[in-house]
């Protein structure tokens, strides 16, 4: 929508952006948020550009590797965030505030799905096996560059990890994913999940302990 007209290339050289938006690319989040609070469409777009990649990755992992659902949830999270942008007081950074909305959006969707699954248990029982197969096939292939044995091993490990993660309690799973798969700091995770740092550490350690036991075969170097 805002990409019409001449384009320029941003500092990273990755995304062609509208020429009129180019000066805004160097702005910090708080300045962009201030502009967005005054309904500046360019500010909205730059914020989306800045965080869509990471947001999509988080949503993708949280909804067990469903690309379409991840995209929908990312979009919903952006809309929720922008519609309540006037409530953002700047006490935390924009991205932790936004990721909090994203994580809550994903958890809401996951809970909704689980509710429906409980309702249609019989129907799901028949589909269960094929679903998990679809999910594994949808995950990016971890061993594309390596030999077939490594690829097979990688797929098997991915499946076991997915199953182990699914059995973790919600908070432990979210904390573990944000830490290990997305490399966030415990302080940031605490802000995102709305818990104390000590609680986050506790969740992380419990999850690590559980996965270490569940994935015994993959622990030995």
């Amino acid at each position: 929508m805002y990409n019409s007209g001449a384009t320029a290339v941003n500092r990273g050289g990755r995304h062609p952006i509208a020429e009129r938006d180019a000066p805004l690319m160097s702005l910090e989040d708080k300045d962009l948020v201030a502009r967005a609070q005054h309904d500046d469409p360019s500010a909205f777009e730059i914020l989306v550009r800045r965080y869509q990649e990471k947001a999509y990755a988080i949503a993708y992992n949280m909804c067990s590797g469903d690309r379409e659902e991840a995209q929908e949830l990312t979009q919903e999270a952006f809309l929720r965030a922008f519609r309540s942008l006037n409530n953002f007081r700047g006490k935390s950074s924009f991205y932790t505030w936004f990721y909090r909305i994203l994580v809550n959006t994903c958890l809401d969707s996951r809970r909704r799905r689980k509710r429906w699954e409980r309702i249609f248990t019989f129907w799901r029982r028949d589909r269960g096996a094929s679903d998990s197969k679809e999910m594994d096939e949808d995950y990016p292939d971890p061993g594309v560059k390596s030999n077939p044995m490594t690829a097979l091993r990688g797929k098997q490990l991915a499946q076991e990890i997915s199953e182990a993660l699914e059995t973790l309690p919600e908070k432990q799973r979210v904390v573990f994913q944000l830490k290990v798969l997305h490399g966030m700091k415990i302080r940031e995770i605490a802000q995102i999940v709305g818990s104390a740092e000590g609680t986050v550490k506790s969740h992380l350690f419990r999850a690590t302990h559980f996965l270490r036991d569940a994935l015994q075969d993959w622990v030995q170097p």
């Binding site: 989306v48 869509q52 415990i186």
Partner: protein
Amino acid sequence: MKNCRHWQETLWLEVYGELGPEEQLKWENHLSTCEACLQERKRLIHLLENIKESMPEPSISRESARALRTAVSEKLGEKHHRGWWHPFLAGYIKPLHVAAVCGMLVVAFGWFGIRGIQHARTVKIASDAGVEEKMIVNNIDILENLDLLEEMETLEKLDQVMGRKNATI
């Protein structure tokens, strides 16, 4: 590691890159003397590397990214421009919904409407009764002494009759 339970939290923090500089120094000193902790550290790092490798961070395609930005922009734009009629024309409210709401209104009016009218009537009667009660309260002295008043009236009449008779005599 079995003998170093109190180092476990430090080990995990170090593996996750969350250890402070002072603790890091102490931990390194301990590692240089403890083979069990060293092995446990290797195992944990190996496991986490395996997990990261088997679940690589997915990247959104350029087309999907553009579609996402467009969708967000359009939906935000819609919010600013749409009026009160938007739900009707945008198709959120379908004829079926309108028919369902109308049906519910008819049922609700049919059930509560008559009772509502009856209720209004009883209210009116009650309010009239209230006025009468107020009048009774105001004139209670008169009503209580009604017999006395009637007697006084009879006496007055008798007095008048007697007065006329005396005048004629």
